[in-house]
């Protein structure tokens, strides 16, 4: 996605103020995601809520204007992306009332007709090499900026992710960052029960990545991890961000069954009131 020039800037704010501002955005975005779950189409609620803090932090990083591109590779979390783009000032309109409508671009998986979205994702795995290609282009042109791919842990079952990990390490793409939204769930249940990913950090390290482990809802930590200028780095960065599926909505938080949810307006209102 591309950060537009009129996106809000926090450059004058202190670190704590930035975190507080982003946290407020996260609350607003979660409520928008619930609104989209209450649309006639429903949405991938659990993964949209788990990835929101990562997306908001990544978009904040991109707002530095150095050419950083953020690609949501787990495109089924489109509702989370649309909400994050809106609260970050990139989408000019509230996507929630428009989501899933015939005359609107806010489809269940995002495409480039949505302002701020450059690549089509949702067929899992592709966003990772898109971002790696972006990183390669930045380096080739002698520019700064990162190619940030945000992937799900279930998505890591796709071979394309590991093809790209191999290539990115071999090419020394230190400005490529892969953030794993490790919420532990996938469509049919828990990752652990379907196709577990043991020793995940070691895997990336074995490929030649630098690896960081963090709480994927700790905005201050995410901001700090993504803040760096990695132009001179030769090892790509894998950020394993532990998250909670359905984060922020007590009724569904931590439940694999919240992967795709359609709710009525009454329940949506109740869930939104519970989001802090």
């Amino acid at each position: 996605m591309t950060v537009l020039l009129d996106a809000p800037a926090e450059t004058q704010a202190t670190g704590d103020e930035v975190v507080a501002a982003l946290a407020a955005r996260a609350v607003e975005a979660r409520r928008l995601v619930v609104d989209m779950a209450a649309s006639p189409r429903g949405c991938h609620l659990g993964g949209s809520l788990s990835v929101l803090d990562i997306l908001i932090a990544a978009l904040h990083r991109a707002s530095a204007g150095d050419g950083t591109e953020v690609v949501l590779s787990k495109g089924h979390a489109a509702a989370g992306l649309y909400a994050a783009l809106y609260v970050s000032g990139i989408l000019p309109e509230n996507p929630a009332p428009l989501y899933g409508r015939a005359d609107q671009p806010y489809t269940g998986h995002p495409g480039p007709k949505v302002p701020g979205v450059r690549f089509p994702t949702g067929s899992l795995g592709h966003g990772v090499p898109y971002a790696a290609g972006w990183a390669l282009a930045r380096r080739l042109g002698g520019h700064g900026g990162l190619g940030i791919a945000v992937a799900g842990d279930g998505e890591l079952q796709e071979g394309l992710v590991w093809e790209t990990a191999q290539v990115a390490a071999a090419q020394g793409l230190g400005n490529f960052v892969l953030v794993v939204d490790r919420n532990g769930g996938q469509n049919d249940g828990y990752v652990e029960d379907i196709s577990p990913l043991p020793r995940l950090a070691e895997r990336f390290e074995a490929f030649g990545f630098e690896t960081v482990h963090t709480d994927g809802h700790d905005l201050a930590a995410l901001i700090a991890i993504l803040a760096g200028d990695r132009t001179a780095e030769r090892r790509p960065l894998a950020v394993i961000a532990d998250t909670v599926k359905g984060k922020g909505v007590p009724a569904v938080q931590g439940k694999a069954g919240c992967h795709y949810v359609t709710i009525d307006a009454t329940r949506a209102a109740k869930w939104k009131r519970a989001i802090r």
Binding site: E69, P120, Y130, A131, G133, W134, L160, T164, V167
Partner: protein, 330 residues
Amino acid sequence: MTATAQEAPAPETPAPLPGRDAYRAELTRLAAKDTAVVCLEADLGGKGHPFQAAHPDRFFNLGIAEGAMVDMATGLAASGYKPFVSTFAPFAVLRAAESLKLTLGYLAAGVTVVAPYAGVSGAWFGTTHHCLEDLAVMRSIPGVTIAAPYGEAEMRAVVRAAVRSGEPHYIRTGRNAAYVSLPWDGEQDGAELPPVRWESRSGNDDVCLVSVGEEGTRLALAARQALHGVSHAHLVYVDHENLARSAVELGAYHRKFVVIEEHRAQGGTAEALALLLPAHEVTGVAADRSWPAQGGDHEEVMASLGIDLPAVFGAVHRARTAGRALATAV
């Protein structure tokens, strides 16, 4: 003894380059003038790639990772580069098919895929290295220009056009066979190739050979030597939009067409032309429904699939006689 001017040997005409070598040479040449051109390979570019030697900073052998290569090329294209990616046709079109759909198709990314080993040019390497389905797959993806050049001059022209346009292209070629280019006046001035190239357009026969790709054209040229009066149109571009234009031109001159292509009949060019020319008769010389499971060289494997000179003669004969029989019956 001193040789006189009359005795001096005539300057030798350089041997034509095979399609994939012509691609590499032309892209390397163009990249000297256009710094947006980048070259990506998936371990099948051969050693001593001229682009790597001339422009090492813009050459990337990404290893055996076709899907990642196409998607990464899209990231490069989004940044303003003109990436050319190359791997064997079966791996480009079938293994990376979803990437091609999403990027060259949906995103209209300015990526060019150059695919050697199209058809059964992989010959004795076997079925894994054959690709008789690429035109069917690629023609079904809107917005992709599909080229099947014959000879060095056409390959160079097609690569130039792809660089110039910055739009998605798929270019199929064979393995190492080289073909003498068809005469073309526009080569020197850099003109665009016409979608239909008339090698011969006689008015004596209502049957016209239509050739696609390297081997289809080789067979058509050979067949015309033995068939009096038959015309021959060679198609360079075989995507839907170009075929629709070509069909108009073909249909204006002839009534019956025998299309020769190294591809399965299903989803191939003959099938497409038949739909575009419902008032005309279109038959094809194409691969049958079998899977070659024996060795042999390129021509031998083609023959086992029913793509050879006798098949062309048979198709022309049937086209001619079927028309007469129909006229008699009426």
